[in-house]
């Protein structure tokens, strides 16, 4: 695997909270803590500038969510965008779903490059003409104008979640999608905003009995009746919506038996799954917990088929990480287009890639200090033992405030987007 080179894009001051390519990879959307969505578009490759093989430039920026105040509970609802998911393109416009803790919105992003001119009742500035002065009629014509990209909210799906929404997932039927919060999952039809079906509910009758929450959920990429959701206890449930209206009984239950030699008071916390993703093929699911990434075969429930250590050197630091709350950080994970490589983030602006076939892995860093644009990224290494080599960094020097929680991989090419706090990095594979 070639090491990528880099083009860097600095974004606004706010922290990026989600990153997602659309289905063709032409567009890349980011959401931030301030409720804004920024969409980048890949340049058309031109013969003149061969070395600029399709860079991403800002295409559209809009305010998706605003802070709200819930008077009933006397608390503020954050405008932070938790997730963005694209709909497959069906016409000239682009559609995406964006969500904060409580409300999902469907946005339409469309281009306007023509405008009508030659109205009869208005002049060119839009002022009304005195009808008495109009003596002839003309047909307005469309004339080219500077490209304008506008985003309009087409649907608002509100008031269906008591708890915080952590996931949204578009179904392969392109007619429905689901939204999941800590205790419930709801199924929506894109056309209907005042109704949603509750398909999973794990809220106990008595809240005092609550010991487990939903952490992530996703639809199967091909089977529109199948979805999975993960829990804070490190389990994954696969559900079939054809079985019953309320999918409280799972079809499959994935859980790895605990390793008794590694048992500690933090075992449960580090087993909590922060992200679950189907492979593009639909045959596997990948889960991320605090220290590892696991790949599961849908046909084998009792253990994962592959386990990758992301940063095992943190295992001896769990108490400090519990104290400073880092142990609760929710890292995401992604597949590449061919499901052969998986990627996830870590601390110190490091992110890791694992090649499932060669079993090789690499640690890379997303930071301006260490890389110039177009330079090849240098692999990084964390030193665990005593002797630290020149380029290595020791565990105690890691910056835990620089965490890479959100990454995205182009659906077909080796282009990745990495969000490092308030900066977005886009890396592309170097040609030859």
């Amino acid at each position: 695997m070639n090491y990528p080179d880099e083009s860097t894009y600095g974004t606004k001051a706010d922290i990026i909270s989600t990153v997602e390519f659309n289905h063709t990879g032409e567009l890349l959307a980011t959401g931030d803590k301030g409720g804004r969505v920024v969409i980048f578009q890949r340049e058309q490759e031109s013969k003149n500038q061969v070395h600029r093989r399709g860079e991403y430039n800002v295409y559209s920026t809009f305010q998706s969510h605003e802070p709200e105040f819930d008077y009933l509970k006397s608390l503020e609802i954050e405008e932070k965008i938790n997730k963005i998911r694209w709909l497959p393109q069906q016409n000239a416009a682009y559609f995406l779903l964006s969500t904060n803790d409580k409300t999902v919105k469907l946005w339409k992003v469309s281009e306007r490059d023509k405008r009508p001119e030659g109205y009869n009742l208005k002049d060119e500035e839009g002022r009304l003409r005195d009808p008495a002065t109009i003596t002839t009629l003309r047909v307005p014509v469309l004339r080219p104008m500077d490209l304008m990209v506008e985003a309009t909210p087409r649907r608002v799906f509100a008031n269906a979640h008591t708890y915080h929404i952590n996931s949204i997932s578009v179904n392969s039927d392109y007619e429905t999608y689901m939204s999941a919060d800590d205790l419930r999952i709801n199924l929506w039809n894109f056309e209907i905003t005042n109704q949603s079906f509750n398909i999973v509910d794990i809220k106990p009758a008595n809240m005092e009995e609550l010991t487990e929450v939903i952490t992530a959920a996703e639809f199967h990429p091909h089977h529109c009746n199948t979805f999975v959701y993960s829990s804070s206890k490190g389990t994954i449930r696969l559900c079939d919506m054809r079985a019953s209206a309320l999918c409280d009984r799972h079809t499959k239950f994935f859980e790895e038996p605990e390793d008794p030699s590694n048992r500690s008071f933090f075992s449960e916390i580090i087993s909590s799954i922060s992200d679950v993703k189907f492979s593009h093929s639909g045959r596997y699911i990948m889960t991320r917990d605090y220290l590892t990434v696991k790949v599961w075969d849908l046909n084998m429930e009792n253990r994962p088929i592959e386990t990758y250590q992301v940063h095992d050197y943190l295992r001896s630091k769990l108490c400090s990480l519990y104290e400073n709350d880092c142990i609760f950080d929710k890292f995401e994970c992604v597949w590449n287009g061919s499901d052969s490589v998986i990627m996830t983030g870590s601390y110190n602006n490091f992110f890791r890639m694992f090649d499932r076939n060669t079993k090789r892995d690499v640690t890379l860093e997303a930071s301006r200090e260490n890389s110039k644009p177009r330079a090849i990224l240098k692999p990084r290494k964390v030193c665990v033992g005593g002797k630290r080599r020149k380029d290595e960094i020791s565990v105690d020097s890691l910056d835990f405030s620089k965490k890479i929680l959100h990454t995205a991989w182009h659906p077909s090419e080796n282009i990745i987007a990495v969000a490092a706090t308030n900066n977005l990095y886009i890396f592309q594979d170097k040609v030859n």
Partner: protein
Amino acid sequence: MFARGLKRKCADGDEDMEGALASLQRQSLLDMSLVKLQLCHMLVEPNLCRSVLIANTVRQIQEEMTQDGTWRVMAPQTAGQAPRDRLVSTEILCRAAWEQDGELPAPGSADGDAPDLVSHLCGAPSAPAPRSTQGCVWDVDGPGEDRGSLQKSLDQIFETLESKTPSSVEGLFGDMDSPYYDLDAVLTGMVGSKSARRPLPSSLFRGQGGFLQAGRPPGPA
């Protein structure tokens, strides 16, 4: 560091030291966790996942302390006295949190509700469906009272979590056409208003005579 060590057979002075050190570490982890839970509490909207994970950790520590019998042994000399003080102090820690919120502790919740919590401690490894609580007899041989105090603290933490997200909110979802809430109605305590959905504090009903007796004043959550 906080691994559940395998107990060695040999009774050594060193082992006692190790055991005491482990207990201290465990106690400090417990204290840290309870403070975190209380902070969760004071935050405007607690992160439910984090609260649940911390609460589970607390229960786990408590369970181990009970199994080890260190529940009483932990404090020097005054057997039973000091542990209770520690537990009382954590209970006060939690109580202060809901007094800030204006909530009242449910009367008699201590041991009455304890089986709900304990069923998870002494039951088999929890099955995925939390609705099916496994019946488990509260172990009265253990230091029930001390456990009860801590239990009450945890119960009350979850009660307040529950009240932050009251089930009455779900009643709102059934009727999308009506206004979400009528703030004025709630604040002025106008019970007659259709759009006032929030149960009013029982204090508003006192001294109002028969007119407002129609609705049963809501009890503690």
